[in-house]
């Protein structure tokens, strides 16, 4: 399921021409990896405490609210990329 969500997101990002790296990991690996991520999209409850943006992937599976979710994720990705560009 998570892999399906990741592939779908990759397609949406490609369509929007937003360059991103999508890394998949189990929920139990998140605590160790989150430092390297800019955002988390998960189809499990995220219990790791983080100030990074966290989105639920469930709309990518049910289709309910999928467009709104993708809009939010892409807007956030663009925002983060702009911040990084401005900082460099």
């Amino acid at each position: 399921m998570a892999m399906h969500a990741a592939y779908k997101l990759r397609e949406y990002f490609a369509k929007e021409k937003v360059p991103v790296i999508i890394d998949g990991g189990g929920n139990n690996e998140l605590a160790g990896r989150i430092g390297g991520y800019d955002m988390v999209v998960s189809n499990a409850q995220v219990t790791v405490k983080t100030d990074k943006p966290v989105f639920t992937a469930v709309p990518l599976i049910t289709g309910i609210g999928e467009e709104e979710l993708v809009e939010k994720i892409i807007a956030k990705a663009k925002e983060i990329q702009k911040e990084l560009e401005d900082a460099s």
Binding site: M3, H4, Y7, S42, A44, I64
Partner: protein, 163 residues
């Protein structure tokens, strides 16, 4: 008429009438997971560790979904417990409560359970996509829930995969 790609889908993930259960009388999510998991084990699709692994995963990471056509659950586990990819589907005589994916404090009454046994996750992405397209199709889920025979239920799934 099937294309080669669609034939490949059906080669990758077996969708057999014998793996469909109509109006199961299971009363809990554990019961329906055991019913489907033990069936897949008895047919040689999965290892003896599969059912418990699905139950453990469902407890930690529930798969209940409020889909457009009704409550659906998609219990599954890691590929190491699977021998041959297969899809086993049950409709329930009475909805069974599952915890909601990503919101485990919430409950969703589920009328259709689609158990995925995936031997190679990389290979089944196109199949997964089709399975999810069924979840997203209100009409298909309603028809599946209301189906009265294994044959009818299987045809709904096959129609989706070969659409």
């Amino acid at each position: 008429m099937s294309t080669n790609t669609e034939d490949n889908f059906l080669d990758i993930m077996l969708i057999e009438e014998e793996n469909f259960f109509i109006k199961s009388e299971a009363k809990t999510y554990q019961e329906i997971i055991k019913e489907l998991g033990e069936h897949l084990f008895s047919k040689g699709y999965v290892k003896d560790t599969f059912t418990q692994a699905v139950l453990d995963r469902e407890e930690a990471y529930p798969t209940g979904l409020q889909a457009p056509g009704g409550g659906v659950a998609i219990p599954h586990t890691d590929s190491e417990h699977v021998i041959t990819s297969a899809l086993s589907i049950a409709t329930l005589d009475e909805p069974v409560d599952f915890h909601v994916m990503a919101e485990p404090d919430k409950i969703v009454p589920v009328s259709a359970v689609m158990m995925l046994a995936v031997a190679d996750p990389e290979k089944v992405i196109p199949v997964l996509r089709k399975v999810i397209s069924i979840v997203q199709d209100a009409e298909a889920i309603k028809n599946l829930i209301n189906s009265v025979s294994k044959e009818e239920a299987k045809q709904i799934v096959i129609d989706h995969i070969t659409a």
